[in-house]
């Protein structure tokens, strides 16, 4: 048993192509990869919304904002 079908290197390299594990499952891997990517955007947008909300609630008087502007 081997995850890429090879159990030894007793081969002629001109006859060897793809050697990654689970060859044949490329479409499934792409789907998982796409879920990872889209999921990242969803979570990131949620996190950023919370962060912006916190920023909005901070410094009610505006004094710290003025100090931040002074610091450039």
């Amino acid at each position: 048993m081997s995850t890429n079908g090879m159990t030894s290197w007793a081969v002629d390299l001109k006859d060897v192509g793809a050697i990654y594990p689970f060859e044949g499952a490329e479409v499934l891997m792409v789907i998982i990869g796409l879920v990872f990517w889209i999921g990242w955007h969803v979570i990131q947008l949620r996190q950023e919304a919370i962060e912006v909300e916190h920023e909005m609630e901070a410094d009610a008087t505006g004094e710290k904002a003025k100090a931040a502007i002074d610091r450039y």
Binding site: S2, P21, M29
Partner: protein, 451 residues
């Protein structure tokens, strides 16, 4: 070089390794930048010199005995054979091939590629112990990890004839274990004895954040490490070899690049997987740390490190997901160990290199299960248990254990940690006073010249 093809192959190989060495120099520049920026202003100069001076110390000791160890110890010794004096003889510091020699154009650049790995191993430890270790103690540790322990692990598990490859089917093509897990384990062994920086933990044991004095330069340092890592990856390959030159089971006449075990791979494969594992690590770490720059960059590094054991063989999407999982492992483990065991790892080196490297070795055992570890007959195939035992050897036996023992000895001799007073006033206190006096004097002198 008895014909033009042999000459071209030799000169190409020589140039290839030379280029990797130049790239890898950036890893050290990055580590220095990162470490100095993470330290506080009153410790800058000592922090910089601590890391810089490991370069000459590890270089000369690697010339004197480190390189010999690699060629002498692939059998243990006394596990699969004795000391390999035949191979090691050409790599003694008095050998004629360890010098200017037109009959051998490869030894110098190959030695240098390994040497830059040695610097990296020592430099990983350097960041975690900043602001309280004595430089002299660190430099002894640097020689031990850079010119003794990592190169023993390379002989065992990163050598075409290494006993771990033969018996365990150990596969670690781009050094998740042989550089990162061992260096992380070594750093942990020192940290356990060294203790945290003053003020790191509150009275009830809650860890305090000690912010870097310059977060932007910390991340620039990590960016440089990413760049140097390209050279590191290329240096892990043999660029071109014919099957007859390998002398294993491969048939036919197709020339190939190989990994360090002389099993076929390609630069194209590792380029895909390097970038995808970096991306997986960055994406995961950004979410985990809620956009914290230090941890996002560190997560990118952890991503590459986690996928490195099998990045010659993974599919790019597999590398991306393993990279993401490696970043998760490093981030969570760092904070858990910090809270639970009061370990002050100033730059997260144990997590990013040690835990992610350990995880990467084990996951490679599952992903590459049953695949050949070597082009030679009689070697074990890759398995989860072989990789797990390998990870224990790298992180624990050759990393944590010797570091802990040597640190205990150093602590008993009172040469490990700087005194409390010096730590509070800063390692650069005296230099800073001298600089301030010199600046005052020159200011006064220049003002006196103004009419």
């Amino acid at each position: 070089m008895d014909n033009n093809l042999a000459a071209l192959t030799t000169v190409f190989t020589e140039f290839y390794y030379w280029v990797t060495v130049v790239f890898m120099f950036l890893i050290h520049v990055g580590f220095c930048l990162y470490e100095v920026s993470a330290s506080r202003r009153r410790n800058h100069l000592h922090t910089l010199m601590k890391n810089t001076m490991l370069i000459p110390l590890v270089t000369i000791t690697f010339f004197f005995f480190g390189w010999w160890i690699y060629w002498a110890f692939p059998n243990g010794p006394f596990i699969t054979g004795g000391i390999d004096f035949d191979a090691a003889t050409a790599n003694t510091p008095w050998s004629k091939t360890m010098a200017t020699n037109l009959g051998d154009r490869i030894t110098g650049v190959f030695w240098a590629a390994f040497l830059l790995f040695s610097w990296t191993a020592a430099s990983i430890v350097s960041g975690s112990v900043i602001e309280r270790i004595r430089s002299g103690a660190f430099w002894i540790h640097a020689v031990l990890i850079g010119s003794v322990f990592w190169i023993i692990d390379a002989a065992w598990g990163w050598h075409a004839g290494g006993w771990m490859v033969k018996l365990l089917g150990y596969h670690d093509a781009y050094a998740s274990g042989v550089i990162h897990a061992i260096a992380g384990g070594y750093a942990l062994g020192v940290l356990v004895v060294l203790g945290p920086r003053l003020g790191k933990f509150s009275a009830d044991g809650t860890p305090r954040d000690i912010p870097p004095h310059n977060p932007w330069l910390v991340t620039l340092g990590l960016f440089m490490i990413f760049t140097g890592f390209w050279g590191f990856y290329a240096a892990c390959n043999v660029p071109v070899i014919d099957p007859a030159g390998i002398g294993g089971q491969i048939t036919g006449e197709t020339w190939t690049a190989t990994n360090i075990y002389l099993a076929p791979t390609s630069l194209s494969a590792i380029t895909f997987n390097f970038l995808m594992s970096l991306s997986g690590g960055l994406l995961a770490a950004f979410l985990l740390s809620k956009g914290h720059p230090f941890w996002t960059y560190s997560g990118g590094l952890a991503g590459i490190i986690a996928a490195s054991a099998g990045n010659d063989l993974y599919h790019p999407i597999q590398a991306m997901l393993i990279g993401a999982a490696g970043a998760w492992c490093a981030f969570k483990m760092h904070h858990w160990v910090e809270r639970k065991y009061k370990i002050d790892d100033a730059v997260g080196a144990v997590a990013v290199h040690g835990y992610a490297g350990f995880f990467g070795l084990v996951i490679a055992g599952f992903m590459l299960w049953g695949q050949p570890s070597s082009p030679y007959e009689g070697f074990a195939t890759i398995t989860p248990w072989g990789q797990f035992v390998g990870a224990i050897i790298m992180f624990g036996v050759l990393g944590f254990l010797p570091a802990w023992v040597v640190s205990k000895i150093m602590a008993s001799m009172n040469i490990l940690r700087i005194p409390r007073k010096v730590e509070l006033e800063g390692l650069d206190f005296e230099e800073d006073e001298i600089y301030r006096d010199a600046m005052d004097e020159v200011r006064k002198a220049e003002k006196a010249m103004v009419k």
